[in-house]
């Protein structure tokens, strides 16, 4: 299986779906001539032409609305946000438009749109360009949300998202675009709403998604050295949540640490912890713990930025705490 970068996997997904279905088109800032701000759309303008790879003006609200309208009349738009920090401008279209039109039209109109782009923290981009929107979008009924961690999941989930008849938010972690991984060539569809056990273990469940998966893998490797065998569940989809997979791993290990990049207050992890206390209560041997970004705006200073994001030490510490082991 060839090893390719996360951005190349996304590029493959777009190219394959545009090849397969003439209704699929890409719109966004710098997606055409510039080949994409993060080179996800590299080569697509040359291959599919300017009618299907559309450079949009800097007007997120406008071109997102255009995409939603196109979806309502039968096209399958992929709207690229240069980053999800800019999608805040398009929230009215996404949350009050795309998420609700099927409901408000009594099912007469569908909005098969994909809104994708990078999000996440890090890279010394300071508070406005270094943040996580997982829980905001996942809070709304009427849209699906995926956040792949690996190149393979990125390809498989984007392809499935394009074929879905509902609005799907695809969170691509900005820091992951250059990460390499094995990706099967050709058709690869990964169902939305299905988590994956990325590492089998028995002592504790580490539930995570997107970029934090790599932090958690690193923590697991550390913990293995001490004879602790963590299981890693990569959610991959944030809405719908794979409740079965979450409950299965909790029942298996009886201890759960949720690791998320975003803020703790009303974060995704709170939703998962709620699910666990409700449906796995009798299987828990310790309170569910969350490791999240700190509850502050992101700092520009590199040392503070590192402290605000979840750290290896905090993840390892939380694992030891749910295992009732002495904290370092």
């Amino acid at each position: 299986m060839p090893e390719i970068m996360y951005r190349e996997a996304l590029n493959q997904a777009l190219a394959e779906e545009m090849e397969r279905d003439a209704n699929v088109f890409l719109i966004g800032e710098e997606v055409g001539k510039y080949q994409g701000a993060f080179k996800v759309s590299q080569g697509l303008l040359q291959r599919f032409g300017s009618a299907r790879v559309v450079d949009a003006p800097i007007s997120e609200l406008g071109f997102t609305g255009l995409g939603i309208g196109a979806a309502m009349v039968g096209l399958r738009p992929v709207v690229e946000m240069m980053t999800f920090n800019f999608a805040i401008l398009a929230m009215d279209q996404i949350l009050n438009g795309a998420a609700k039109i099927r409901h408000m039209s009594g099912g007469q109109l569908r909005v098969p749109i994909v809104i994708r782009g990078p999000e996440g923290t890090g890279g010394r981009l300071s508070s406005q360009h270094s943040q996580v929107f997982d829980s905001i979008y996942s809070n709304f009924p009427g849209i699906k949300v995926v956040a792949p961690a690996t190149p393979k999941d990125a390809k498989g989930l984007l392809k499935t998202a394009i074929r879905d008849d509902n609005p799907v938010i695809v969170f691509e972690a900005e820091r992951l675009y250059a990460v390499k991984g094995e990706v099967p060539e050709g058709e690869l569809l990964i169902p939305i709403g299905k988590a994956e056990v990325k590492r089998e273990g028995k002592d504790v469940s580490l539930i995570t998604w997107s970029r934090m998966y790599y932090y958690v893998e690193q923590a697991a490797a550390e913990l293995e050295k001490e004879g602790i065998h963590p299981e890693i569940l990569d959610l991959r989809s944030l809405r719908p949540l794979d409740e079965e997979a979450i409950l299965a791993t909790a029942r298996k290990t009886n201890r759960v640490v949720i690791v998320e990049e975003g803020w703790p207050h009303v974060g995704m992890g709170a939703q998962i912890a709620d699910l666990l206390q409700h449906k796995a209560f009798d299987y828990l041997d310790a309170p569910v713990l969350r490791v999240s970004g700190l509850d502050v705006n992101m700092s520009y200073a590199a040392n503070l930025e590192n402290l605000i994001q979840p750290t290896l030490a905090r993840i390892v510490g939380a694992v030891k705490k749910v295992l009732y082991l002495e904290e370092k």
Partner: protein, 444 residues
Amino acid sequence: MATAIQMPALSPTMTEGKITKWLKKEGDKIAAGDAIAEVETDKSNLEVEAYDDGYLLKVLIKEGDTAPVGAPIAYFGEKGEKVSLEAPAPAAAAPEPRPPAGPPPSEVKRAPAPPVTAAPPPPTEVKRAPAPPVAKVGPEPGGQVVPLRRAEVAEGDGRLRASPLAKKMAHDQGLDLSGLQGSGPQGRIIKRDIEAAISQGATARKAAPIAMPQLLLERRSPETLPLSSMRRVIAQRLTEVKPGVPHFYLTVDIEMAEALKIRDEANALETKVSVNDIVVKAAAIALRRVPKVNVSLQGDRMVQYYTADVGIAVAIDEGLITPVIRDADVKGLSALAAEARDLAARARKRSLRHEEYTGGSITVSNLGMFGIDWFVAVINPPQAAIVAVGAVTERPVVRDGQVVARQMMSATLSGDHRIIDGALGAQYLRELKALLEHPMRLLF
């Protein structure tokens, strides 16, 4: 590694125990579950069991000596291992520095501290007998041994802490969590404690149910009711006059000819039923018919019971104890008699379990077998009444203007005047008298 065996808490009220007998000697091999010593508690004589396989290395408390709950009474470990009393072995296993001295560890609030003379092991390890002194993560040999975290201090609210998983496992296994000690934070019982208990045969230690007829009736839970303001004033005033539990006494003479017939008929069927068994059943039924007596004053509230659980006072060498016959009103006389015999026999052997001598809302105390015709008894709080029963004797009584001889028995009710008044007590005794004089009514 030598491990301390500690004085276990064998009843909720036990604060110390006396070693009456060592069943194993120093150097003896012990298997998990073996009884190693007999301990006399405030109520019973019980055996201390070993939780693990090993050898009894050192006896710290001699026969006849007393140790507080949680204090080490002996050491056990590998064969021939040396025990240093200055630095007991559990401490040696800790690679990390111990938390500094200061607030007492959580367990101390559950049980008194070990005696200072015994050079106690570090407090974090003291009272963890059932749990291994250190926890191993993962069953693999060579897995790293990590000391438990014990820094947190319990609030001392007396709550039993257990993880939801531990509770479910205990329930599924029929284990009593109160008999376990937790190795989690603040003594929380967690999965590994249950697993340890199961592997150490805790299931086998589960008490065998005493043989008693299966009752189809559901036992209705007591209700706590506020005291009326009048009742509150009465309770206050009477306590001023008679501090403690202000007793009042009512006596009634009961003709026992018919009740004796029941005893004789039972004996003809080779079923042993004593006069006292019949009195207990009548006392229970009377309690159901006069439910206002079936109460208990607890603080400034009154508990109304809906079950007729009757205590029977049993004299034993060192004093007396009152095992309780539950639902005595609905039990058949032979079942009730068998249960009473079993409870009394085990009371004399001091092998009653705590739950067998607690609860109940009234007690029957009978000194008839000692030739006592009449006496008054002291209420056993939190019960609100006790019936003192004398001997059945032939006494002269007047019937239709003639002095005739009749089999008579005197019963004296002592009532807690704070919640039972004389008229109510009299009503109860009238019911008791009627039931015993016309025992056919026990059937209705």
